[in-house]
Subunit: 511 residues, 2 copies
C-alpha cells in the first residue's frame, strides 16, 4: 500500500530502516562494478541491446493507469499486464477474478530445481496532472540533479518501472539464448493501492496456492538503492489498517441529519464534537502512543539482537540531514536517533491521515455539520493482527459509548516477518554483495506491504523486496525512475536489469 | 453574517425566536389588508406602477455579485450601490475606503424632525452554480409551492432584494410627489458575509458617526414574515467570533512542516492529534457546553420576563414539525421545547463549522499531515464581548500548553441588545399591527448580525430589522425572494414596498 516514501531515495531509506543516510563512500565499490560483476556478459549485452525496448515497455504501461480507488481501467490493466507476462515468457497466464478487481496469475516452469515466487501490482496511485511538471501518463525523460536521466510518470517507481525492469531481465536472458536458472510463479494484483482487500482470494485460489507452495520464497521487484549505493533488505514490515471513523446525526440518532445553521448548536448535538471526543480516547494526550484497550497485548518487543541490527544500521546515518529532509526538528519525546529508530521499528501507531467535516473551503461558514470523518491508519507490529486490531478498536469505542461512530475499514493487512536465514534473504544479501552494493539489513519496514499474505498460512513463504536502481515521489507529483545514472553508486536501468538477472542466478545456486 | 437561516421561512422563525411555527390563522388578518391599510393610496399607486422597475433593480444588482471572501467585484459593487443610493434620492453619497473592502455612505436630509439610520450590505455569499436549479446571477422568476412567484438568485433574499425593495419605497414616495417623512442616514458595507471586520472603521469615520448620532435608531431592511403571516421582531442578537484554530509543525516546532509518510508517526509528533487534543478542552465531554476558562463570567442569564416572552413565542409552535424540518430527533440533553428555546436564546456556544487536515479525498492516503485546521464559531450572549472572548480563548489554550495553536480570527462582533421601548421597536410593532401582521417579539436572534456596531458607543443607537415579505435559502443554492404572493398571509414585493413606506410614516409620527 505504501512501502515507498513520498520523497525519493533519501527519505525512503529512513523509513525502510534508518540505514544508509550519510553512509561513508569508502564502504561502497564504484558503480563501474555493476558492469563487471558476475559471469553474465552475454546477458548484459542483451540487456544493453534491449534498453530502448525496456524504456518503451515502462512508458507504454504508464500510459494505461489502473486506479482501483477510481475503478479506472481495471479489467484493461489486468489484460495489459497478462500480455506483458506472456511476452516475457510466462505460460498459463490467466486473469483471476475476485470480489473486487482482478489479478493476474502465471508460471514460467523451466524444470529447474528451485522455484521463486513473484508479487507484482498493476495498479497505481491517484494523481492530479495540475501538480506535475511533466504529463503523468507520458513517461517523459528528464534530468535530476545528482542522479541522471529519469523517467517521470505515475507508476514509474511504484511499481511499473521496477516490475517492467524485472521482465526486461527475463527478455535479456532469453535473448542471450539462455534458459532461466529458476522456475517462476507470478501473481499480480490490482488493489495494492487500496490495501489489497482481495489478495487472500488471489493467493488461495487452488492452482495459485499450489504453485506458490512449491516456491522457496516470494519477492517483489523494487528499486531500493540510496544515493550512497547501499540497498535495504527488510526482514518484515509493519501491518496496517486504514479506516474512516464517521460520526453522523444519521447513525447517532442525535444531532442533525444534514448541515444546519450553526446558531442551533445551543440546542442540537454536534457529530463533529462527538468525533473529536471519540478520537481523543485513541491516543495518549501527547498524541504519540495508542491508548486503545488491550492494544499492546500481543506486541512483541524487539530483541536485543534486533536492536543491535538497528544500531548497526544507523552507524552512518546523518541525523541532522535526515531531520532536515523530513522537516522534523525533533523526534517524539526528544528521543535520540537510536531510541527513535527502535521506536520506529517496534511501536504500533495510530495516525490521523485526514479530517473532513462541514465546511472546508476558504474562510468560514456558519453551519453545524451533520457528519464528520477522520481518516486513520494504524500500523501494526508482530504479533498483532489486522482482525484483532479491528475488533479491539470497535470494543474500545463501544465501551466508551461510541457505538454509533462508524468504522469503515478500507484496507489493511497483518505485519510480516521473514527469517534472515531463509534462502531468499541470503540470496538477496549475496547478490548485493556480489554487485558491490552494501546491504542494509533492516529489522522491518516501518511502512506496510501485503507481504503478510505470503508469509502466513496457507502460503507460508519467506518474502522480501529486492532491486537495484532508484526512484522517488511515489504517491506524489513527479514520480520518477532512474534510467541513466550519473551517480556512480546508483544503478541505471540496464544495471538494475542485470541486478535481477544476477539475483536469479544467485538464488538458483546458493546453498 | 448569518442572520438568515439556510432553509427558508419556517426554519428562520425557529432561529429567530421559536416564534411562529404553526401559529393559528385566527390571529392573522387577511393579506388583502396590506392594500387597505394606511392612508398612502397615492404611494401604493406609484409602487404598483414601479413594480417592473423594482424587479429589474433587484435583478440587475444580482448580476453583479460582490464576494468579499473571494475579493470579487468589491470596488465595482461599492460603486454600483452608490449609484443605486443616488438614484433613490440620497445625496453626498461617498465610497468609504477601509483597511478591507469599501463601504458606501449617504444621507437623505429632508429637514424632517426625525432621522432614521439604515444598515445595508452589498456583498453576497459564495455560490456554486452547479448546485442551483436556476443560474444564480440571472434572477429568473419561478413558482414556489404555497408562496407564489419568486425570484431565484444569489442575494435575492440576503440582502439585495429587501434592500432594493426599501429603495423602491423611496422611489414610490418621490413618484407620488411626496416628501419623505424622515431624514435618512445610510451605511452599506461589503464585508457582512465575512464577519464585518471593518465596520467599526466605517461607522466611526467622523462625518458618518456625526450623522448616525443624530438618528433615532438604525434598521436593516429584510423580509421577516413566516408562512402564517407573522413577523419576528428581535430585541437583539447573539454576537459571534469566527476563527480557525490551526496546529502546524511549522509553528509548533515539533511534528513535520509538511505532509510526510504516515509510517513516521512512530517517531514524529502529529499536528492533527494536537488539534484534536486542543479542541476537546473547549467543550464539555458531550460537546454541548463551552468549557473555556471564565467563559460564563459575564454571561447574563435571561430574566423571568424574557423567559415569559419565550413561552409566549412558542405557544403555537409545532415542535414535531420543527424537529422534522431540521432533521433533529432530540434537543440537547433531551430538553423540552421551552427549555430548549431558553437555552437557544441564553447560552453561548462553541461550534465546529468544519475540520480540514491532510488527505480529504475518497478513501485514504498514508500521510502524517503537517497542518490541521478546525473552523469554529463561538456565539456570544450579553454581556460577553468579542474582545473578551478572543482573549479568554487564547488564555485557555496557552494555559494548557497550546501556545503554538494559532487562532486566526476572521470576523465577528459583540452581541446586541435593543430596548423594546425604543422608538424604533415601537414603530416596528405599530407598523406590523397596522398592516395586520402579528409581531412575534423575540428576546434575541440566536444567530448574529453586526447590529452591535450601532448599539455600542460611540454610535449608541437602538437597532432592529424590519420588513414584510419573505425569502429563503440564504447562503444556500436556489436562494429566493417572494415577488408575487399567492399566500394571503405573506406580502409580495409591492406590499413589502408599502410596508417600508408605512414604517417610515409610522416612525415619523409615533410618540
Amino acid at each position: 500500500m505504501d512501502f515507498r516514501d513520498i520523497d525519493g531515495p533519501t527519505r525512503r531509506e529512513m523509513i525502510g530502516g534508518a540505514a544508509a543516510l550519510g553512509a561513508g563512500a569508502a564502504l561502497v565499490q564504484p558503480a563501474a562494478l555493476f558492469a563487471e560483476a558476475g559471469s553474465l556478459a552475454d546477458i548484459r549485452k542483451a540487456a544493453e541491446a534491449g534498453k530502448e525496448a525496456s524504456i518503451k515497455r515502462i512508458r507504454d504501461w504508464i500510459a494505461l493507469p489502473s486506479i482501483a480507488a477510481e475503478d479506472r481501467n481495471m479489467p484493461e490493466g489486468a489484460a495489459y499486464f497478462a500480455q506483458l507476462a506472456r511476452d516475457a515468457g510466462f505460460s498459463n497466464v490467466e486473469v483471476v477474478p475476485t470480489d473486487g478487481h482482478p489479478g493476474v496469475f502465471g508460471t514460467l516452469d523451466v524444470g529447474a530445481p528451485r522455484t521463486l515466487g513473484l508479487y507484482f501490482m498493476y495498479d497505481v496511485k491517484q494523481y492530479d496532472p495540475a501538480e506535475w511538471s511533466s504529463p503523468p501518463l507520458e513517461g517523459r525523460l528528464g534530468e535530476r540533479e545528482g542522479l541522471g536521466t529519469v523517467m517521470l510518470g505515475r507508476g514509474s517507481a511504484n511499481h511499473k518501472g521496477p516490475e517492467a525492469t524485472f521482465l526486461a531481465a527475463l527478455h535479456a536472458i532469453r535473448a542471450a539464448g539462455r534458459k532461466l536458472p529458476v522456475n517462476l510463479v507470478l501473481i499480480c494484483e490490482g488493489e495494492e493501492e487500496i490495501g489489497s482487500p482481495h489478495i487472500h482470494q488471489l493467493v488461495t485460489k487452488p492452482n495459485v496456492l499450489a504453485a506458490f507452495r512449491k516456491c522457496d520464497g516470494v519477492f517483489m521487484p523494487t528499486c531500493l538503492q540510496d544515493l550512497e549505493g547501499g540497498a535495504t533488505i527488510e526482514l518484515g514490515a509493519k501491518g496496517i489498517i486504514e479506516l474512516e471513523l464517521v460520526a453522523s446525526g444519521e447513525k447517532w440518532g442525535r444531532g442533525p441529519k444534514k448541515d444546519i445553521h450553526s446558531s442551533l448548536k445551543a440546542i442540537v448535538d454536534s457529530p463533529a464534537w462527538r468525533l473529536v471526543q471519540a478520537l481523543q480516547t485513541l491516543v495518549t494526550p501527547d498524541g504519540n502512543k495508542p491508548a486503545i484497550d488491550g492494544w499492546f497485548e500481543n506486541v512483541r518487543l524487539l530483541t536485543e539482537n534486533e536492536k543491535k541490527m538497528i544500531r548497526e544500521g544507523i552507524k552512518h546515518t546523518n541525523e541532522a540531514r535526515m531531520k532536515e529532509n523530513l522537516g522534523v526538528p525533533h523526534w517524539v519525546d526528544d528521543l535520540s536517533l537510536e531510541d527513535a529508530m527502535v521506536r520506529l521499528m517496534q511501536d504500533p501507531t495510530v495516525n490521523i491521515e485526514g479530517l473532513v467535516a462541514g465546511y472546508t473551503g476558504p474562510g468560514g461558514k456558519t453551519i453545524l455539520p451533520g457528519r464528520a470523518v477522520a481518516k486513520l491508519d494504524f500500523r501494526l507490529v508482530p504479533n498483532q493482527t489486522r482482525a484483532e486490531a479491528v475488533k479491539k478498536l470497535r470494543a474500545h469505542l463501544d465501551k466508551r459509548g461510541f457505538k454509533d461512530v462508524e468504522m469503515n475499514v478500507s484496507g489493511g493487512y497483518d505485519p510480516t516477518e521473514t527469517d534472515p536465514n531463509s534462502r531468499l534473504i541470503r540470496a538477496e544479501i549475496a547478490t548485493y554483495k556480489k554487485l558491490g552494493v552494501r546491504p542494509n539489513i533492516s529489522v522491518r519496514l516501518a511502512g506496510s506491504w501485503p507481504g503478510g499474505s505470503f508469509t502466513q498460512p496457507p502460503v507460508s513463504q519467506p518474502v522480501g523486496r529486492f532491486g537495484l536502481g532508484t526512484g522517488g515521489n511515489a504517491h506524489a507529483p513527479d514520480e520518477y525512475l532512474l534510467i541513466d545514472s550519473t551517480n556512480p553508486k546508483v544503478a541505471g536501468i540496464v544495471d538494475a536489469t542485470m541486478g535481477y538477472a544476477e539475483f536469479l542466478y544467485t538464488f538458483a545456486s546458493i546453498k
